[in-house]
C-alpha cells in the first residue's frame, strides 16, 4: 500500500511539474522562442491542456489511495477553499468592475489565493486530528 501510494504521489508530482513547465512554455514561448507563430502557440496551449487533464487524473488516483481520515481532511479543505475562492473571487471581480482597485483583476492572484487557502486549511485540519 505504502509503495503504491508513493508511486502515485511521485506520478502526481511529475505531472504537476510538467504542467507548470508547459504552461510557462505556452506563456513565454510566443514572445521569446517562436515569434508569435500561430500554429506553435496553439500547439503549446493544447499540450498544456492535455498535461492539465493528465495532472487531474493523477490527482484523482492519488486521492483514491488516501485513507478515510486523510480523505476527510482533504475534502473539508477543498470545500472551504472552494467557498473562499467563489466569495473572494467575485468580490475581487466586483472591485475591478467598479474601478475601486487600480489595474485589472488578475486570475493569477485568485490562483495564488486558492493555493494559500488550501494549504492553510490542510495545516489546520491536520493539526485538529493530530
Amino acid at each position: 500500500m505504502k509503495k503504491e501510494r508513493k508511486n502515485k504521489m511521485y506520478r502526481l508530482a511529475a505531472w504537476t511539474w510538467s504542467w507548470v513547465a508547459t504552461l510557462a512554455i505556452a506563456t513565454f514561448g510566443p514572445k521569446f522562442i517562436w515569434d508569435n507563430h500561430t500554429f506553435l502557440t496553439t500547439f503549446a496551449i493544447l499540450v498544456n491542456l492535455a498535461n492539465g487533464i493528465l495532472m487531474i487524473i493523477a490527482n484523482r488516483n492519488f486521492f483514491n489511495e488516501l485513507d478515510e481520515l486523510e480523505k476527510k481532511i482533504h475534502l473539508e479543505s477543498m470545500g472551504i477553499t472552494l467557498g473562499l475562492a467563489v466569495i473572494f473571487g467575485l468580490s475581487y471581480s466586483l472591485l475591478d468592475q467598479l474601478n475601486i482597485i487600480k489595474g485589472n483583476a488578475e486570475i493569477s492572484y485568485l490562483v495564488m489565493f486558492i493555493g494559500i487557502s488550501y494549504f492553510t486549511c490542510m495545516l489546520i485540519n491536520t493539526r485538529r486530528y493530530a
Binding site: 505504502k2 485513507d67 478515510e68 481520515l69 486523510e70 485538529r128 486530528y129
Partner: protein, 71 residues
C-alpha cells in the same frame, strides 16, 4: 464514540504503525481513532474487530451526544 483500541493494542505489544499497516490506514488515523477525534468507517471497524478477534461492540462504544440526550 469511545473505543478500547489503545488497550487492546498494548495487550498485544503492537505499535500504532503496525496496526495501521495491517488494517491499511495511516498511523495518524489510528492515533485520531484512539484519541476519539475521529470515528472509523464500518469497513475499518470490521477490520479492527477481525484483527483483535472481538465483536465490534466490545471494541467501540456508542455515546449519544449531550444535545441528543436532552431531547
Amino acid at each position: 464514540m469511545k473505543n478500547r483500541i489503545k488497550v487492546l493494542r498494548a495487550e498485544r505489544n503492537m505499535t500504532q504503525e503496525e496496526l495501521a499497516d495491517i488494517i491499511s490506514v495511516s498511523r495518524q488515523t489510528i492515533n485520531a481513532i484512539e484519541k476519539e477525534k475521529f470515528d472509523p468507517s464500518l469497513p475499518t471497524a470490521f477490520r479492527i474487530s477481525k484483527l483483535f478477534n472481538l465483536p465490534i461492540e466490545e471494541i467501540f462504544f456508542y455515546q449519544e451526544a449531550e444535545s441528543v440526550k436532552e431531547r
